[in-house]
């Protein structure tokens, strides 16, 4: 259940990203390319303690090397006014959870190649990366459930047609298929449409595997007497599939969906990493990783890699643990034991 708690936390952060981030999504600072993380201090260089955490200013900037300037302290301020935003797309606001007074800058996780705050971009990137999985799952599972259900229920040529379709889809290596499908859409789409395109692509290749499993389950469930009973009492085929058969596959489906979400998140990361996903200045975890490709970045500015890498790692693990937990909780042998 730790996975579930972590997921709730991650999704809350994503939803309220503009508030938790001290800066706007693409707030560029030309004087601070690749600025290292600014640690929070409670004790200054002279040994004095301060009640309010602060960060030091910095000097330099040539060749992306910075020196801490202990003569300038920028205390951390809560609930500060900053870049205006619309929370969840509707609530207007300009308050941020924390910030420092200009000209100081707070880089909890460092800055990237354009002097943008990595923490801020991580939060905004999570809006893309975390929702792509859920939206993708919703689409592909609707498709998979319906097509698998129809295939298993009717059998015959309908079944053959749908199953050969899924085999065709499954026989093509996934990553190549993603890239090939990406080629269908123009490269220079606005970020909103790129997002939709990615969801569509991932959902399109994701339904096939599920449809096959659901078909198998429906094949056995349609023999159940309650299916015959429902038909004998006048229910139509679609009604029997949707109301009587598919709900009986739900415990499996919910677990399968949870475990499948990371695949979608990684799919988006993969596309953005290749540079054909969400384009900068819009942030996603994939294009943040993309910025960490070069040897120089890896060795000199490791936070560029570590921040999105850790975020992806945590999310994927959280989903897997959550899925495992659900599987145990929904296991019929545990919950329905004793009867029958």
């Amino acid at each position: 259940m730790a996975g579930g708690v972590l997921l709730i936390l991650l999704y809350s952060l994503a939803a309220l990203a503009p508030f938790f981030a001290p800066y706007a999504e693409s707030d560029i600072d030309r004087d601070r390319f690749f600025h290292p993380p600014t640690p929070l201090h409670l004790r200054d260089a002279d040994g004095h303690w301060h009640a309010r955490p602060f960060v030091y200013g910095s000097r330099g900037g040539q060749d992306q090397t910075y020196e801490v300037d202990t003569s300038r302290r920028y205390p951390l301020r809560w609930w500060v006014r900053g870049a205006p935003y619309r929370l969840l797309g509707v609530l207007p606001g300009d308050r941020h959870l924390f910030g420092v007074d200009a000209p100081g800058r707070i880089y909890l996780l460092g800055a990237d190649d354009a002097g943008r705050d990595v923490w801020t971009r991580l939060l905004f990137g999570s809006q893309v990366s975390l929702t792509v999985g859920v939206v993708g799952i919703l689409i592909s599972f609707s498709l998979g459930l319906l097509l698998g259900g129809v295939s298993g229920y009717f059998g015959g040529w309908v079944d053959t047609l749908i199953m050969r379709g899924t085999e065709l889809l499954l026989s093509i290596p996934g990553l190549y298929l993603i890239v090939a499908l990406r080629g269908v859409f123009p490269l220079d789409l606005p970020s909103q449409q790129t997002y939709l395109a990615i969801v569509a692509i991932l959902a399109f290749i994701g339904w096939a595997g599920l449809a096959r499993v659901i078909r198998g389950m429906v094949l056995s469930l349609r023999q159940a007497e309650y299916v015959l009973a429902a038909r004998a009492l006048g229910a139509s085929s679609l009604r029997v599939i949707v109301r009587h058969i598919l709900p009986n596959t739900m415990s499996f489906t919910i677990v399968a969906a949870t475990v499948a979400v990371p695949g979608y998140i990684l799919g988006e990361v993969f596309l953005s990493f290749l540079g054909v996903g969400v384009q900068p200045p819009a942030a996603s975890w994939g294009n943040m990783l993309n910025a960490a490709r070069s040897q120089r970045v890896l060795t000199s500015f490791p936070w560029i890699l570590l921040a999105p890498g850790t975020a992806i790692f945590l999310t994927v693990m959280a989903f897997n643990f959550f899925g495992d937990g659900l599987r145990d909780a929904l296991d019929p042998r545990k919950t329905l034991g004793g009867r029958g």
């Binding site: 059998g155 015959g156 159940a224 007497e225 309650y226 015959l228 009973a229 429902a230 038909r231 004998a232 009492l233 006048g234 229910a235 139509s236 109301r243 009587h244 709900p247 009986n248 739900m250 329905l336 009867r339 029958g340």
Partner: protein, 340 residues
């Protein structure tokens, strides 16, 4: 006599399998009149269940298909109806209950929801009104505190109660025909009697006709008005329940009756009909019962006997029906000395 409510004429339902054509129902005719109970009796594999499924056109297709004959209900040929018209009849005009109360209710819905579904389907009532009707139906089938039971799931109920719920579902729209496919086979004896009593009570109250499929001659004697005995996909004897037990005209029926244990005959071993039900892919030539018949003659091996009136509306499919009637031959013991 008045018009029959439901009339089957020369119904043929065949299954087209890899091993050949299974003639599960091969020329079955009978009629069901309003308000009566007609029992269809036979061993496993005699085609009685397939006959009942054929009436509602629920035979799995492929491999099954109704290849000939007619089913007339209130003057309409059910085989000529469109699927949507057929759906309007199922559950509303002709309902069906099944053998296994354990599996004929959907485990994911409450009993109330399942009864309400039928009502909503056929009468377009709103949820609240349907719920009131569902509670009323549960009370009608003898379930105590129906206001509570309506929200319970099938697994919270016993087999007998589930069968009552199933009956409530089937009768929710007050159909004129109820097909009961071995409704008591899976229940223990005391519950069997209660369910049969309930069915008889509801039959009288609702004025419906019951087509009772069973292999239990005890059930037949208690509840049926008339009997159709099936063997190898055909009706072999068709008469009033009194005639079936007192003056049977067919050696198969006679054999079934002789195989019943009798009180006071403790010294005798149970009689059995020798041999097995023939393979439905290759029925024997001539009379299908001749290999097991103790009184078979040469003619039975080559000629197919017709189902004919052997006196007073009593139909039998045997060349020697008159000899059985006159007592010239013993249809159980055979021609020679009685066997132990």
């Amino acid at each position: 006599m008045t018009e029959p409510l439901l009339e089957l004429r020369e119904l043929k339902t065949h299954f087209f399998t890899d091993d050949g054509v299974v003639r599960a129902v091969d020329g079955v005719s009978f009629a069901l009149y309003a308000g009566e109970t007609l029992a269809v009796v036979g061993e496993s594999g005699s085609g009685k269940s397939v006959t009942s499924l054929s009436v509602l056109r629920l035979v799995a297709s492929p491999p099954g298909r109704i290849v000939g004959g007619s089913i007339r209900f209130r003057g309409r040929d059910l085989l000529a109806l469109a699927e949507a018209e057929m759906r309007a009849i199922r559950g509303k005009e002709i309902s069906m209950i099944f053998q296994e109360p354990m599996t004929s209710l959907n485990p994911v819905y409450t009993c109330g929801e399942q009864i309400m579904e039928v009502i909503e389907l056929h009468e377009g009532l709103g949820r609240a009104a349907a719920r009131v009707r569902a509670i009323e139906m549960l009370r009608h089938v003898g379930i105590s505190s129906p206001e509570q039971r309506v929200d319970e799931y099938p697994h919270q109920m016993s087999g007998g109660m589930r069968q009552r719920v199933m009956i409530a579902m089937a009768l929710a729209c007050k159909p004129s025909v109820l097909i009961a496919d071995e409704p008591t086979t899976a229940l223990d004896v005391t519950i069997q009697a209660q369910i049969l009593e309930l069915l008889q009570k509801l039959r009288r109250e609702l004025g419906m006709a019951v087509l009772l499929i069973t292999h239990d001659l005890g059930v037949v004697a208690e509840t049926a008005d008339r009997v159709a005995v099936m063997y190898a996909g055909q009706v072999v004897e068709y008469c009033g329940v009194r005639e079936a037990f007192r003056s049977t005209r067919h050696p198969y029926t006679a054999g079934l009756l002789a195989s019943l244990p009798r009180l006071g005959d403790e010294h005798q071993r149970l009689r059995v009909i020798p041999g097995n039900v023939p393979n439905p892919v290759r029925f024997p030539a001539g009379c299908r019962f001749h290999p097991r018949c103790p009184i078979a003659v040469e003619r039975c091996r080559s000629e197919v006997p017709a189902l004919r009136d052997v006196g007073g509306g009593h139909l039998a499919r045997c060349f020697r029906a008159e000899e059985i009637a006159s007592g010239a031959v013993d249809p159980v013991a055979g021609e020679g000395a009685p066997r132990g």
